[in-house]
Chain length 206, copies 2
């Protein structure tokens, strides 16, 4: 019997906006995949450390090291590298070493992604469109990275160029509004605000 | 000086597809916000436990309890509820109790989201469009939940209705291909596959 509540559609992921601002993200490896991970992490204002022998750095990673955008440890991964790490992104072509990184992360309860080993991932990456404060992430839940990329491009073409700027402006207005009518104890009220807008499934802030 | 590598655009989040399949997700609270969290978690195949006095359950949460979609603990949160929890989503109108949940989660290194308290969140939710295996998540990085919802709707209108089914079909083809040409040790090769497609920033699987 159909209920009036949304039906559960299994098979998805919990897509979330992880907050890594000023958090320590350790990237193990320095090749093309690592370069993508590093850019993702830097775009989210993380403190990024890359552990990889200098000979293994690709041009982009070497550039980010030389610009001081990331901290570089010029050797292969060692377990002590995990001290203080809030997240680990591993992208090396060595299944045994990868598995060791994964196991250590799980012992220490550090969220981790071992590239290309779905079973050794707390989370996957998707294809992300970025326009200022706006981020749109496309996941096909393992059915095809190429398709995710195509969908992302289609979305990017569709959204007005001004969307990022418009969102920026709304953000500024909201900020001003808070200055005019500050209310530090508004937690419960805002929770109510959610409740009054049943079509809005997302939570503040997003 | 402009470099040939993508420029870092700070101010974003690390948007990721968290894997909660068969993982224990504890939802603290049973109101409208909790109902949204529960649906998100169920859509990602999590094992969901809701801790909330039965009097505090809204109609949707009560429905999911009665259908056996979630496990229900009929009382307020207690620290022992965190035993075995892989993720905690807290949505109660009690700032002190919320903060206690957050602190305990951080002691135990359990990823957590305290609704409406950005400083007590490892991650935020966004507005999600779902079509079969396809998930598209919109985040405005705190600049306006309403706008995220508008952008999501616009994207949903734009994408062809057949997109989810098309992705499903590609997934089936990929699976068949793997059966025909299985290669369990293909990690390094797939890593190369990434490398050969520089326009593809996303990782397998997504």
């Amino acid at each position: 019997m159909a209920s009036k509540f949304p039906e559960v559609q299994g098979g998805g992921s919990l897509i979330i906006a992880w907050q890594v601002k000023s958090k320590n993200v350790l990237v193990v490896g320095g090749g093309e995949v690592a370069a993508g991970r590093i850019l993702h992490a830097l775009n989210a204002d993380a403190q990024v450390t890359v552990v990889c022998p200098v000979s293994g750095l690709n041009e982009e990673v070497a550039f980010r090291v030389s610009e001081g955008q990331v901290t570089h440890i010029d050797r292969n991964f060692e377990p002590t590298d995990l001290e203080g790490a809030d997240m680990v992104l591993c992208a090396i072509d060595d299944p045994d070493a990868s598995t060791q990184v994964w196991r250590l992360c799980k012992e220490k309860r550090i969220p981790a992604n071992i590239a290309d080993v779905p079973s050794e991932c707390d989370f996957y990456f998707g294809s992300v469109h970025r326009d200022g404060p706006l981020q749109v992430m496309v996941s096909t839940n393992g059915n095809g990275p190429k398709l995710a990329s195509i969908v992302r491009k289609k979305i990017a073409e569709t959204l007005p160029d001004s969307m990022g700027a418009a969102i920026d402006n709304v953000g500024k207005l909201r900020k001003k509004l808070r200055e005019v009518a500050p209310n530090p104890q508004e937690g419960p009220k805002r929770m109510k605000w959610h409740v009054q807008r049943p079509t809005l499934i997302s939570s503040y802030p997003n």
